[in-house]
Symmetry: C2
């Protein structure tokens, strides 16, 4: 196992335990929405976004008890977005990471409400005093998270994605879509880790630049995997982009061009972290992982 593999396994365990704590089962009439939130959020995934938060915060000797909370918040936002994206009104996906999506396991109304509740709870966690004693730090994180998750970020990207599926987007269009849809939350993760670690403005800017390259590389690799991998490896149906005639980096660059573009972005992402020296090892490992991943 590489250093990166054992590091992300460790942080995934911390996040799983913390999410289990934040999302208890409940008796009575709220039990159903509590179960749906757990189904959508507790799935033993890699937890890449929380890893970025924690690895960035670690560079500034931030107590893990703080960075894990920020990691849980971004993971809740990520999971709510998957729950809503999977709904029949959106991507109509029955499977998510190899098991029933929330609306298939429960029903559409429960999935909508479970997503709403996860989104709301993410801000509850950030705003609470346990996250950081300085309210200004907590608010700076909440503000970045809201910007990354909202209309000018992830939600906007999903909106563009839905209405762009059958159109011929150029490079600028596809890049904007991905910068919003997946990039904004990856960017938040590195930035949020810097903020909870009380990094300087310049350090946060370097983390943002790293994450912007990383986020674009992540999406290009996603597009590649949709073509090259089968449903079992992906945990969701394969070949959907081509079937829906989606605007992807493969359509624009071809397969070889997409691969070299992703490699270029990963190198660039790592170079953004040179100022941090050896402490940046885990974040650089994440960039290599994104390039080499299979799902």
């Amino acid at each position: 196992m590489t250093d990166f593999q054992s590091a992300i396994r460790e942080t995934a365990g911390l996040i799983e335990d913390a999410l289990d704590h934040f999302l208890p089962t409940q008796d009575g009439p709220l039990g159903r929405v509590a179960d749906a939130m757990r189904w959508g959020a507790l799935d033993g995934g890699k937890r890449l976004r929380p890893f970025l938060v924690i690895a960035a915060a670690d560079m500034f000797d931030c107590p893990r008890v703080r960075s894990v909370r920020v990691g849980c918040a971004v993971e809740m936002i990520h999971c709510y977005s998957l729950i809503h994206d999977d709904l029949p009104a959106m991507d109509n996906a029955d499977l998510r990471r190899g098991r029933a999506s929330v609306h298939r396991k429960f029903d559409d109304a429960t999935a909508i409400l479970a997503g709403d509740a996860l989104l709301t709870q993410a801000f509850e966690i950030i705003a609470a005093e346990e996250t950081h004693p300085d309210g200004a730090v907590r608010c700076a994180i909440a503000l970045e998270l809201a910007r990354g998750a909202g209309k000018a970020g992830m939600v906007g990207g999903q909106m563009i994605d839905i209405y762009a599926e059958h159109k011929d987007f150029d490079l600028a269009g596809v890049t904007q879509l991905q910068r919003l849809k997946t990039g904004a939350l990856i960017r938040f993760s590195a930035v949020g880790g810097g903020l909870i670690g009380e990094a300087s403005g310049e350090e946060v800017a370097a983390l943002a630049a790293y994450a912007e390259d990383l986020g674009l590389a992540f999406q290009i690799v996603d597009d590649i995997l949709d073509v090259t991998e089968d449903a079992e490896t992906l945990g969701k149906p394969a070949g959907q982009d081509a079937e829906m005639d989606k605007a992807t980096f493969i359509k624009l660059f071809g397969m070889d061009g997409a691969k070299s573009k992703a490699a270029e972005l990963v190198d660039s992402a790592k170079a953004r972290l040179d100022r941090f020296g050896d402490a940046a090892g885990p974040l650089k490992g994440a960039a290599d992982f994104v390039f080499a991943r299979k799902n």
Copy 2:
């Protein structure tokens, strides 16, 4: 026009202008979600929740520029909840305040995303420095808002409502449902007004007690209006509770019993404010309004 009527008309105008500012139209691919957010939030309603925020904050000489921002945040949460509640998967309502609901005007996917974006933006507004110079104050408000809006508040209430429609709830059950579904956000409004005005803990507790009585009265009156008023007055279909065999206060108390219970709660709500003297006039006026309202 009574003092209350002119006061709520004034604050509704402030909120409408501020929401118009926070929710601009947009060119390009984000135009559609921006339009849907405007359709769902800019409707010239009474803006009762922001009125409570502003009237509570006014008692502590809070600058309006701050309390209006908190009022916009709670109104965005209220509007997102209506957008999601109206979806076919939930209440399947074609009409809202006498015009097409968001999913009827646009489509289901756009309505889901517009709701998500409004919910997210509410926290963006609270977290921003313009709301209050002290981050601890902003976080305290964000925390209360998240608690009122999330699983232990509004979303939980909606969840119970969906799965309770055809059941025989007792008084404790109906009260819990309404305390969450409508009460939690009304409670937040008064509490949030106190917090943005830097009220003491005891003062905030008095505002919370006022709003808890008020919220329950509000829901009882809602149940009464569903029986006594027609669709034109309500701006939505009438008689739905009985048709869906919903658990309501009418079912439990009868019409006369419900009316006297509401009157009792309004008196109690007003008495909670006695410590504030004449400054509490607008909030007391809101309690009288809730009792006398027709829609």
